[in-house]
Symmetry: C2
Subunit: 496 residues, 2 copies
Amino acid sequence: MKNAISPTRNENFSDWYQQVIIQSKMAENSPVRGCMVIRPWGYGIWEQIQRELDKKIKDTGHSNAYFPLLIPLSFLQKEAEHVEGFAKECAVVTHHRLEKSTDGPLVPAGTLEEPLIIRPTSETVIGASFSRWVQSYRDLPLLINQWANVLRWEMRPRIFLRSSEFLWQEGHTVHATHDEALVETLKMLDIYERFTTEHLAIPVIKGEKCSWERFPGAVSTYTIEAMMQDGKALQAGTSHFLGQNFAQSSDIRFVNKEGIKELAWTTSWGVSTRLIGAMIMAHGDDDGLVLPPLVAPTQVVIIPIVRNEQNADAIHDYCKKLQKQICRKKLKGQNLRASVDWRDMNSGEKKWYHIKRGVPVRIEIGIKELEQNMVSYSIRNNSKTTLKFDAENFVNNISKTLNALQKDMLEMAQKKLSDNTTMVTTLGEFKERFKQNAKLNAFVLAPFTEDENVEKAIGELGATVRCIPLKQPGISATCLFTGRKTNTWALYAKSY
Amino acid sequence: MKNAISPTRNENFSDWYQQVIIQSKMAENSPVRGCMVIRPWGYGIWEQIQRELDKKIKDTGHSNAYFPLLIPLSFLQKEAEHVEGFAKECAVVTHHRLEKSTDGPLVPAGTLEEPLIIRPTSETVIGASFSRWVQSYRDLPLLINQWANVLRWEMRPRIFLRSSEFLWQEGHTVHATHDEALVETLKMLDIYERFTTEHLAIPVIKGEKCSWERFPGAVSTYTIEAMMQDGKALQAGTSHFLGQNFAQSSDIRFVNKEGIKELAWTTSWGVSTRLIGAMIMAHGDDDGLVLPPLVAPTQVVIIPIVRNEQNADAIHDYCKKLQKQICRKKLKGQNLRASVDWRDMNSGEKKWYHIKRGVPVRIEIGIKELEQNMVSYSIRNNSKTTLKFDAENFVNNISKTLNALQKDMLEMAQKKLSDNTTMVTTLGEFKERFKQNAKLNAFVLAPFTEDENVEKAIGELGATVRCIPLKQPGISATCLFTGRKTNTWALYAKSY
């Protein structure tokens, strides 16, 4: 049987990815270089991600706020490593109006005294507020989150994965002690892990980034790394322990219980619309998107099949009734999201429209189903099978069906991850794993020493150090690149 | 009794406004010129506004999407009136990286081929997508909304009312006919009216803007105008019938049922964080903010009064129990939002903290209340009175109490509006109403003819034409400025 997406994943994974996005109408490249347009279906997924993550962020005591889009260059420069890390990606505002030039067309005018940078991340501009808000130990911990757009100029943009402008949440917190800040950093990493696992059905490996992969200005960066279907790794979220670096540069100090002024400790953490890209590449198939029920904007779509206009009203009423019944049911405390596709379009076309968009369950209702009080339904990850079922039972079991699908998707991804992660202890085997035409890219756990020669050597083999997993094998071994004894193992992979 | 805010509204309304914002910790000016920092309390109010408005927008068939922040200058120039209207307020991005200059500091580098404008509004960049999405009459109507930040460079910024960067929603729709687009324009105006009235407790006057107040590029602009406590008008939301102007410049065409290509009709409409400013000025008093219960981030705050450490645990448990009971109750389908203020701070200070923030109901619980199973509570718009009430009855009636407060606030504002709106038919009376030292500014309904001499004349008197109200007196009269007979009456006022 022919597939809806061409090329297939095996033929060309990267082109398949672009095609899924276009065919599902999730997003598109905009004529503005490097920027994307997130269409309603893609944005609907983002809204589901936001709702659940926002809840988790608030449940752990954080409040949302909003800080300026534009950062004066002098702010960004306060932290030397930080500005150096972002200098190549900064969109710079230099004028504040347009004016008719002598030969007619409008040109930038009103030169700014100081250039303003569109936030690539907000540590420095938020730090300026925090230094005012934090005065005493009573003001701590300060736990803030922001949902915002950020901009990092991209030379090779890819929708959702690497776009110049993207949407994200960035948490920023201030603490009285080193340990509290570190606990916060790891707590948020855990929340990201739980969210990607439970909601996106994507298992991840938690770990610390090595020095050359660290967030510019951080003391340590923690990451969750996910495996895509082509075996490559995608960094799905990061949480940074910033030590006192940004507190120092933004002057965030507090008077402690003993009345003595101290420098504070800060953290920051974020996930972005990149998660949508992760979901496409973790679950999609050759017919398009496959959405985990918990984040699908529509979980159940009802397609009326009207072959005879005489039955149209009866079928429509039946569909509407069914929709209402389904929407009364719940999944993880949320009412189900069901819709009826009334569009004037042939039913085959409609069916493929929803398959490509990854709607978890499709129901077709014709006159036969109506008369027998039955439903014919298909589950997206098994789209070739249509099952018939007594309508009442179907509705009563719909939450269970969706829950099972969510669980299956996670299990499939978990199996993929464990089947394709290997421990490697010889350089020969390591090279074999990362050779150009390896059938499947894979995750490799191998001994590691933090050394710039190591960075170079693995780079030459086409691999990257994804992280030092928090869960270590606890085995002493020899670093493949330095020959030194080490207890530390790193996760190596090709990456996005 | 001394008031919490100095100056009072009578002493200096404008300084009072700034003080309310600072003292309630809603927002602050940022070191970035013209930009504001929305602190958690202010952002919490925005989240309530968003939730309800988003629901209304979706219930009327619109979907959310997201479009690029940056607009190429050439896009903005496609509609001549439009670009002219915004030229003076455009933040222009001219470079895409930073580079070390020869003498050390970082300077903008990587000059862009074409300058990019930070969106002041998104008609032109959204139009580019719409021209691709709309092909056939089957694609219409196209009903899209976006929640986003926009930037209009402000020379005299004021938090929430006129900040360079602000948050808003902007709806953009495409229709097959003139009439459908006009219906949509007015439908969204109605939704804004219902929202400000029912949720913000602010009555508004709906009307059409006169030619010189129109959105640049629109055929007609509709507005809702609200009266602030100083009698000035605030434009609280607008809805634009764009005719075929933007469809023409963005090339949005569709094939109709007869197979013929037609130019489409578009609309756009928006409300912004300005609504928060409106709420402050409509309801605030000399003790600070007064929040309508439906948009208060915290509707009920419980303040434990612990005078003896021995009772601390018992009081805390009692407060927690009360909070849980209250949060189970509902107001307009939403669970109530109650919190306990556990902070280590004296209870007088705490009380004033919540008064200034406008929390609708405050409860104080000490050992006496616990033992008698009573609550002492105060309602914010009557903050000097404390009432004692049996705890169970209090909880059972809390939704009713909040509902009554919401209703009272609207009635107060409605009375203010009708008391201070007068019909005027002579120039002398008109001048009297708008003279410099008039005790209270007021709304004036007077005959109107659309003429640039009228614009000049009323400007000289310190007034502005707010709108031609949709509800007209239906009386023929003489325009005060042209002497011409007219059936049209306009709403005149001083304005923000």
